[in-house]
Symmetry: C2
Subunit: 133 residues, 2 copies
Amino acid sequence: MESEREALLQFSSQFCEELSNDDEGLKREILAHAGNRWSLGVLHILGTNGPLRYGELRRYLTGVTQRMLTRTLRHLERDGLISRYDYEEKLRRVVYAITDMGKEMLLRMLPLWSWIITSANYFRETRAKYDSD
Amino acid sequence: MESEREALLQFSSQFCEELSNDDEGLKREILAHAGNRWSLGVLHILGTNGPLRYGELRRYLTGVTQRMLTRTLRHLERDGLISRYDYEEKLRRVVYAITDMGKEMLLRMLPLWSWIITSANYFRETRAKYDSD
DNA sequence: CAGTATCCTTGCGGATACTG
DNA sequence: CAGTATCCGCAAGGATACTG
């Protein structure tokens, strides 16, 4: 039904009116994890493969530099979406895991993510047409 | 049920394995609309208030500069999420509207957005604790 | 092994002034 | 009215080298 979509859009008004209040910045920052280069990948890998060490994560995320992996992990940890545990051993060993909050966020991002993937051809064509004008 | 969440996470694997293919960049760019300063606001306003002129949009988005509004509109138009119509009149008049694709994206972003809003307090506290260490 | 430190380029977001 | 043009600071993302 078309009206069910309209209803959802209307329902959303209450949230988007909050776009203009003080901590609108905080919300956008959390949301920005969705657009960041490695955040979604880290969340997903930790969500499906369980806790992993730094080096293991690196191998999953082909192409990530140490700098960017560390940055991403710190950001996600700061927002409580992953946890970090440093076994203080001589041979260093640090393990990262997704938190319950991280799983909640991941579950709410996946529908959007999968929709974008299935729509990739549409976007490619639309952009090509736009750029050629 | 806890297992239903696990199932969803597993289900998602097929998508995130695509993280490493060629147009992964395109997908993240589309997703980046979620984290951009004005994109979600524009989509929402056009989605609930119908087609609007440039100046009207400006009044809805308190604080937006002309430069950023124009940039945001161009990006959204390039991805086919909004449409632009220029009535070629002497008194200039340009109207923007959300497209069907834009509505689809908006509908898939709102659950994530609303979840973040209701979790804002959690994030504030988590960050405060992280920053104090 | 799990990071830092340094340098670089690109794009975001904003301020201000100007225009068909 | 609906934009451009120009300048700025800042953060993302990456390359490369180094370290406890």
